[in-house]
Amino acid sequence: MKIAQKTIKFLTITAIALFTTASFAVNSDQKHDTENDGGRVNTKNEVDAYILHHIKDSHDFSLWSYTNDAGERKHVGFPLPIIIWTTEGLVTFMSSEFHHNDDGHVIVEKKGLKFAKIHSKIYELDQEATTVSFDADHHATNAHKVLDFSITKSVFGIILIGLLLLFWFSRLAKQYKTKQVPTGFARVLEPLVLYVRDEIARPNIGDKHYRRFTGYLLTVFFFIWVLNLAGLTPLGFNVTGQLAVTACLAIFTLIIYSASGTKGYWMHMLWMPGVPILIRPILAIIELAGALIIKPFSLLVRLFANISAGHIVVMSLIAIMFTLKESLGVVGATGLSFVLSFFILLIEVLVAFLQAYIFTMLSALFIGMAVDDHAEAH
């Protein structure tokens, strides 16, 4: 039985791997490449552009690319569906139709509308335009952005990691039905759950209320942590480095602590007792701004900036391999790049945990402030 399961697992993985490389992916788009060397990343400017491109969300899942003997640029990976809300309603097509072009040269026509992809954003061209024209700052002049509900790489990552988390933790939950102490991988997860509950939720929210919020805090903690770690793998997810995702998380926290705030909490914020009446409105404005804007803003920006910065640094250090090839030689540049990026990656593993910890910790702290019965404290 066990052997059969393992065999099935192995076959599934192999099938997925073959499917990915063979059938989905290898798209050639040599005719759209403007550069002579087929989109290789060599110079400093190209490295910068590549890093900035990586930091952004992407509409296809590409693992690597290479130039074949015929001079064609091949991309290994698979395209993801594009779902956009346009002036004509919902439009869907596969991202492979853009042929990995990211500067607006490839125009896709659907439902009589023309679309172009510029810096990982889908633009809808104006009715009469046939090509995208740019102004001096490289902003499109005859196209506008559309609402993009695509299954982008980030969305794909969220779904993947979400399913992974569900699988892990529902298995841990199932194990408790039959035994007292979990075995296998679930044994690693149990102390983590206990850590979040006993070190983050309970001390910050208080023994009386912590149970209501532990589910949210646990989900957020593991979601951020696993996605941070996934971002360090060569899969190249940058989900927690997407402003939209961190904003979403921060707004969840904001809603939770605002909705569960006690009367005392709002009293202290809006009409602080024991303070001269004239100062009270000023204090109320400051407090309101702090609670509704600064707190969630610092949450979302911290996570976004830390993870983005981490990705930029790691990729820049890997790029030393190419940028310093002239001055240090191939071996020197490669060695230097390996050593530096290795240590930075180690630090990034720590940062991945630390950012998840801080986000959860601060969320717990804010919730704790809101539910604390401090009406008569002052």
Partner: protein
Amino acid sequence: METLLNDFSPGLFAVSTILLLALIALMVKFAWKPILNSLEERESGIENALAAAENARKEMQNLQADNQRLIKEARAERDALMKEARDISNNIISEAKEGAKEVTAVLIEKAQASIIQEKQAALAEIKKNVAELSIGIAETVIRKELSNKEDQLKLVEEILKDVTLN
């Protein structure tokens, strides 16, 4: 700020909101609730077991203290009993001694009294014997006297020779 806003994708925001809401709901329902419940159950089980062990330990201590107390009491009782027995035996001995003394004293007195009595009886008999003897002598003497004076004397001497004063 402008670049930030430019990077911000409302579509991704909407999609991730929906996905995250679903994830949180599913995780709470299928993972966190059962996990936290069973963790709490286990913890309370451990706490109960610890409390039970503590109680058992205290009971043991109480039992031991009881045992100690019982042993002490028994020992004290035994000591008291021994002491009493010793006292009693001492008393008995001393009483017996005294009784014996009294008895001997009485016996001695009795013996002395009987000795005196015997002595007096003996003296009285001697006196009687002497008197009889003297009367016998006198009779004989008186019988012979009339015949001869010398013979009389001789006779007295002979009689006197026979007489042994006892």
